[in-house]
């Protein structure tokens, strides 16, 4: 299922493009903000949860996953180079799963690890909060990448659609409409994080079991649908 050649090409393609520089910026910002706040010691002991939870899980994680998740496949579809990969007997499910894995691992490296580092800085050492944030971000990396890789196959405007999902559905609706949380990857991530951290300021709206079940369903459904659509990848002919 996992194809080493596809993975190698994907990694080289992702880091060969200038947008790869964008991966490093959000986590750097997160760590810098944490360092500044740690030094400033603002009143209210709950600031790590607000910053690393609200900011980290509603901005840093999804946006970094969006950039990475759309880079691993979307860029090749946009420039047409995907044809050379698809004009081989490699199974489409293998392409989707491999690119999803590459995207998920990169997102873990660029978000989950910085979340852990920021958590350790914020709490002054190993803590349940740091561990919870790390595991939550790992889970979020997986689910977001499944969704955004699928989105890359569905539309050439994957980044715009992804931004709409993150900003409108997760940030706005997710905070005010309880039903929207059931379809929010941010809430799945926070649910898992909070099950370890038990930190009220994380504002997790789902229990661990709901988060795991829904997260699994969304991930599997996204990968299956992405595979189906990639199997129907079409080159435009003369008329269009």
């Amino acid at each position: 299922m996992f194809n080493k050649v596809v993975a190698s090409i994907t990694l080289r393609a992702v880091f060969g493009r200038k947008r790869a520089l964008l991966f490093a910026l959000p986590p750097l910002v997160l760590i810098l903000v944490t360092l500044v706040l740690k030094a400033a010691r603002p009143p209210g002991a709950q600031w790590p949860g607000h910053i690393l939870g609200d900011f980290g899980f509603s901005v840093i994680l999804p946006l970094t996953a969006l950039i990475i998740g759309t880079s691993v496949l979307g860029a090749e579809i946009d420039d047409g180079s995907i044809v050379h990969l698809l004009a081989t007997p490699v199974r489409r499910s293998s392409v989707i799963v491999t690119k999803f894995c590459v995207g998920a691992v990169l997102t873990m490296a660029f978000v989950a690890v910085p979340e852990l580092v920021a958590g350790l800085i914020a709490t002054g050492g190993p803590s349940k909060l740091a561990a919870g944030l790390f595991v939550g971000a790992l889970v979020g990396s997986v689910i977001y990448n499944a969704v955004f890789v699928m989105l890359s196959v569905l539309t050439t405007r994957a980044i715009a659609v992804g931004l709409l999902y993150v900003l409108i559905w997760e940030v706005v609706l997710g905070n005010f409409v309880s039903g929207a949380r059931l379809l929010s990857v941010e809430q799945y991530s926070l649910g898992v994080a909070n099950s370890i951290a038990h930190y009220h300021a994380l504002n997790a709206g789902l229990t661990l079991s709901t988060a795991v079940i829904m997260g699994t369903i969304v991930t599997v459904a996204a990968l299956i649908y992405g595979t189906r659509r990639l199997s129907e990848f079409s080159l435009k002919g003369d008329a269009v």
Binding site: V5, A13, A87, G237
Partner: protein, 309 residues
């Protein structure tokens, strides 16, 4: 289809493809077998659509399309038989030529990807540049490395969309020699091109697509003979053009005669009848026939007639 010949055969049966209200390909039925077949047509005629349908990168809206008896749509296994050289210039520019071809060989799960890569790169004469990144290649070099990647798994069917784009004359000749050789080996080569001179020299069979429909199919000279509504044009050079012209104008097979500085231009409705009558007439009139040249039997002329109609 069974047997080695069937394995290489592309069959379209009543294939139609539309995008909304636009019909890109309209009820095309054709069979393409071993050898080189040229797919010709004006811009927007449907050539690329036919190629993409054949390559499994477009689904027919109606009808059936098979390669070696198997449908190409949603069938990744078909790429063991097919090699595709797409028109678009996009290739993995960060890879070297060798890496690109070897990746393709590995994806095809070839027993010895390195050896297959060396062979394919040698066929297209890119060994000297194989270790350079594709981003440093000229357009012609990119075309050749794409052909190498399409050939690395030794496919029986090769589909090429405008393969001569970006090539200099020497590279074009090399590509034409290569395609001729591959066609002679019994492979099915289908190429779409708007460069008529190359297709004329290369393709034994042409398929002419005009406005989404199959306008003509077969050897272009045979197609020309079938165009009975258009008089054939000949240039005749003899020892006495004017006297021959006067004799010809009275013949039923001849529709027009013009004395030019270069010889006698004759329009004849019936190719066969004119050829027979000319020999007899020159003998009876005591005129020496020096040269008889068909002037509109080139692919360019045939193509122009088909597009006009």
């Amino acid at each position: 289809m069974s047997g080695p010949e069937g394995r290489n055969t592309i069959e379209l049966r009543n294939v139609t493809r539309w995008y909304g209200n636009v019909v890109a390909v309209n009820d095309i039925t054709m069979t393409i077998g071993p050898g080189v077949t040229g797919l010709l047509g004006p811009n927007g005629a449907g050539k690329s659509t036919v190629l993409h349908l054949t390559a499994g990168f477009l689904a027919p809206s109606r009808g059936e399309l098979t390669v070696g008896g198997a449908p190409s749509w949603r069938n990744p296994e078909i790429y063991r038989t097919i090699g595709l050289v797409p028109e678009r210039d996009s290739v993995y520019a960060f890879l070297t030529g060798e890496e690109f071809v070897r990746s393709t060989a590995t994806l095809h799960k070839l027993a010895d990807p390195a050896a297959a890569t060396r062979r394919a790169i040698a066929i297209v004469d890119m060994a000297q540049a194989q270790d350079r990144k594709i981003s440093t290649y000229s357009k012609g070099m990119r075309q050749r490395i794409k052909v190498a990647a399409a050939l690395v798994h030794d496919p029986q069917v090769l589909l090429l969309d405008e393969p001569f784009n970006g090539m200099d004359p020497r590279q074009r000749l090399h590509m034409m020699d290569l395609l001729t050789k591959l066609g002679a080996e019994g492979r099915t080569i289908l190429l779409s091109s708007h460069i008529l001179e190359e297709v004329e020299q290369l393709a034994g069979t042409i398929q002419v697509i005009v406005s989404g429909r199959l306008a003509a199919s077969g050897d272009f000279r045979a197609i020309r003979r079938l165009m009975t509504s258009r008089p054939h044009v000949f240039l005749v050079r003899t020892s006495d053009d004017r006297r021959l012209g006067a004799a010809l104008i009275g013949r039923p097979a001849v529709t027009g005669v013009e004395v030019t500085g270069d010889g006698l231009q004759v329009r004849a409705a019936d190719y066969g009848a004119f050829s027979r009558e000319l020999a007899a007439l020159t003998r009876d009139e005591g005129i020496r026939l020096r040269e008889l040249l068909p002037e509109d039997e080139s692919l360019e002329s045939v193509f122009a007639y088909l597009v006009e109609s």
